[in-house]
Amino acid sequence: MAAAMPLALLVLLLLGPGGWCLAEPPRDSLREELVITPLPSGDVAATFQFRTRWDSELQREGVSHYRLFPKALGQLISKYSLRELHLSFTQGFWRTRYWGPPFLQAPSVWINLGRSSVMSSQGSSAPLSTSSTPPTQSLPLPPSNPWVWPMTLTTTFCAMLCCRGRWSAPKTSPPGRSSCPVVPRASLISFHLLQAGLSVLLKADRLFHTSYHSQAVHIRPVCRNARCTSISWELRQTLSVVFDAFITGQGKKDWSLFRMFSRTLTEPCPLASESRVYVDITTYNQDNETLEVHPPPTTTYQDVILGTRKTYAIYDLLDTAMINNSRNLNIQLKWKRPPENEAPPVPFLHAQRYVSGYGLQKGELSTLLYNTHPYRAFPVLLLDTVPWYLRLYVHTLTITSKGKENKPSYIHYQPAQDRLQPHLLEMLIQLPANSVTKVSIQFERALLKWTEYTPDPNHGFYVSPSVLSALVPSMVAAKPVDWEESPLFNSLFPVSDGSNYFVRLYTEPLLVNLPTPDFSMPYNVICLTCTVVAVCYGSFYNLLTRTFHIEEPRTGGLAKRLANLIRRARGVPPL
């Protein structure tokens, strides 16, 4: 998928933060957090989250005075009455198979607007209230100009979003939210200017030398209290990077902040009410002697994250003792005994997607869904948005698991309209335990108008990844925690009941070649036609206008003339 964004130039994005740490009850607050997770493959994942929460009803009060919440985004929300906004830019692909399930995965570019659900502070999804507007099926785009949306986002994020046609919304949504249109290709040039706290680590040249890089903005309303009588707006800016341990660590799996980011932490952000670094120190073989973190953490945090029990060392930057000792904090992790190259635990759910078929007329989209749980089956909601120029044949949709046909319990299909709307296919599939389910559908490649081709049509056209949402059974029972108190990485998809956890995965985006015309063809055709017409016309014209003379047969020929010449020379009368 790195190839999927050849143009993408991703720079850091953090919109102007403001702060309000004063004696009055703060109406907005900022929490920042960094989670460092050594991945089973030996790479290191770092996930930054900056969460701004603003106790203000943007849409009802006509608010125009911004503090911590960035003005540009707030204006977007209030002007277009958005319910939610999710936007992510990703370079690279999260390899669920080797890296385990991500906290929050995102496809290359993903924009999601307006669903009428509010995350309550208890963690379950609750509709706002019956008096509010009904769930938006069509997006709140300004009706006259569907381009306004991408345009305003473009100016705000300095990104180039190419968007074809109208956007559509899926009919059902997985718990919490659902994704909408996926724009598989975009370029982003953006900026970042915050010089304190965790964000000192955000140094662009390091962050782009990574195998995975994903930055996202999530804006959503959250309930302020249990009965959800008033809402606050939450802005999460996240950045996930995966450092290749063998490049940054010279072959060793040890890491330190300085080695990864070429910076160390020096001071907490004066605006943040919470500023923490979590380091995953879970050891897989229940032996505490394998690794060592330095400086030793003051506290640890244990919780069930994505179905497994994890232990995190906590470094609180607001704790004055933490930084004052040496004026900087350089967290290091050393493996005492190099971990054996045991096969990493395979996540219960992962997926793969590919295009098959040959020639430029037909093809087949296949998605492989793996359920590696030894004994539990679970349902998965599969959402596909396929561009209209791949004409899907729904009767060829086959779903097979373990060699038998698997009938989905729910299908919603919205056919495409040419140049307006993509295909939308949504299915709820039950994945049997320990199985591979193959979902395949055949398509025909459509011919585009010659002005609709991209400047490099032979590169191919992107098909957005499918989105998988599932409640995966958990190995360890988790207890629901207080949403406001728990670390940020844990509260993105709150656990609704302890026995399973919510996962959303994206498959690879696909690159499909469409039949590409020779673009000089119109000229060639015109020239050839003209020539053929001219030739036909010429002979026709000749035939009709030529006059035919009856030639008097001339006596003799060349021989006679020659003979006469000779005869004249001889003085003999000619013939």
Binding site: L15, G16, G18, S64, S78, T152, C527, Y537, T547, H549
Partner: protein
Amino acid sequence: MAAAGAAATHLEVARGKRAALFFAAVAIVLGLPLWWKTTETYRASLPYSQISGLNALQLRLMVPVTVVFTRESVPLDDQEKLPFTVVHEREIPLKYKMKIKCRFQKAYRRALDHEEEALSSGSVQEAEAMLDEPQEQAEGSLTVYVISEHSSLLPQDMMSYIGPKRTAVVRGIMHREAFNIIGRRIVQVAQAMSLTEDVLAAALADHLPEDKWSAEKRRPLKSSLGYEITFSLLNPDPKSHDVYWDIEGAVRRYVQPFLNALGAAGNFSVDSQILYYAMLGVNPRFDSASSSYYLDMHSLPHVINPVESRLGSSAASLYPVLNFLLYVPELAHSPLYIQDKDGAPVATNAFHSPRWGGIMVYNVDSKTYNASVLPVRVEVDMVRVMEVFLAQLRLLFGIAQPQLPPKCLLSGPTSEGLMTWELDRLLWARSVENLATATTTLTSLAQLLGKISNIVIKDDVASEVYKAVAAVQKSAEELASGHLASAFVASQEAVTSSELAFFDPSLLHLLYFPDDQKFAIYIPLFLPMAVPILLSLVKIFLETRKSWRKPEKTD
């Protein structure tokens, strides 16, 4: 046999001739129009002559002035002549293609009873309060009261007074030429209250040649349907300063009344934000004598650029943005002062940038550092800040101080910070500016479309052009008849429609093929078809001429 053969040949030749002629006829009658029709670009007709007529448009700006004479203001026999109307017309000398004429239509009449009563009261303010209520004056019109020479309404040394609404008071005179003298005074006052050369010159700054009007005149914001005003608090050092500003209250108390008064000139939206770690682009100079930091006059232009990227573009609208920045310098660089050309600190510690906005540096009182630990809590004095920002706002909208005639008293500032006649003056200027902009846009559009003949002109573009032309004409008419409000609305329509037409994306469609490509495509068809037709036509023509000459010779 030979005769039969010749006859047959003759027949054959005639048939060939007819065929060739028929071919030529088909090609010309059917082929050429068909080709023309199918390759033609659609071009709706445009009012080219009317658009070129707009350039020579003569703008007459009529200011209706009602002149009210009280009993003892002029000699009695002069009073007998009332009421009557005098028109004072004057050309405004600007180097602009439009001729602009300013007409003061003075309707003289006697004062009514309640007006007499009001004007005999003790002070101007009281008189105004009494006169105000029953009257609702139209935008752009003025009322001038002429009071007696010895009236105590004005201080003795003052000859005239300009009120906050659309009224003025002028001292009368007992003289044979009373009307002439008073008439001149009235025109002076009316000019100060409505139209003067420099107001129009500032409005037309973009359309006038550079040399005459300096950059100073280009300060006002361009006319637009709406404006966005953004107040930003820049706190580059949140570690030491915890800045609090009551922007909501300040906007409600000071900015909103001003904008409400200005409401006729456009839509306004106000918002504010706080930016942390936002630095100025210039390192201030340290002055050890006063142990403070200074920003030089010439370095001020470099201050804005680095901040600009942080301000964020407005996502919600396309109106021009006015930025007002309040900069609280970091602890290491405070106190910070702005120096003028002579090296003296600027009293307001603020500066503005034409058409962009203003910046004010707000120094934290050094006493607050002594007692407490960092961060220091800073309460911004919003009255001080808003005084500066409102003054800058007035400048940026082009509401300048009027050129007062000698011995003229100007009323004190109103609670809104804007006098009604100042608004009128702004509307006059904006209407003229809009008309100039719309005319320029339409002219360049017509030129462009005339020059490039294969641009498609769609019907909706044409209708916008027609609409704009009609609106320009309507606005000019309304200006000439003294209806300022409707003239301003029409001029806004003109600008909107003309810009819509000019920036219509359909004008940019892919229809511009260079001529060599066209020839390359046409030649394979046209050359083989045209050559035999032309050759045979030439041959037929020569033969017929020969056959016509022959009979002549035989004759």
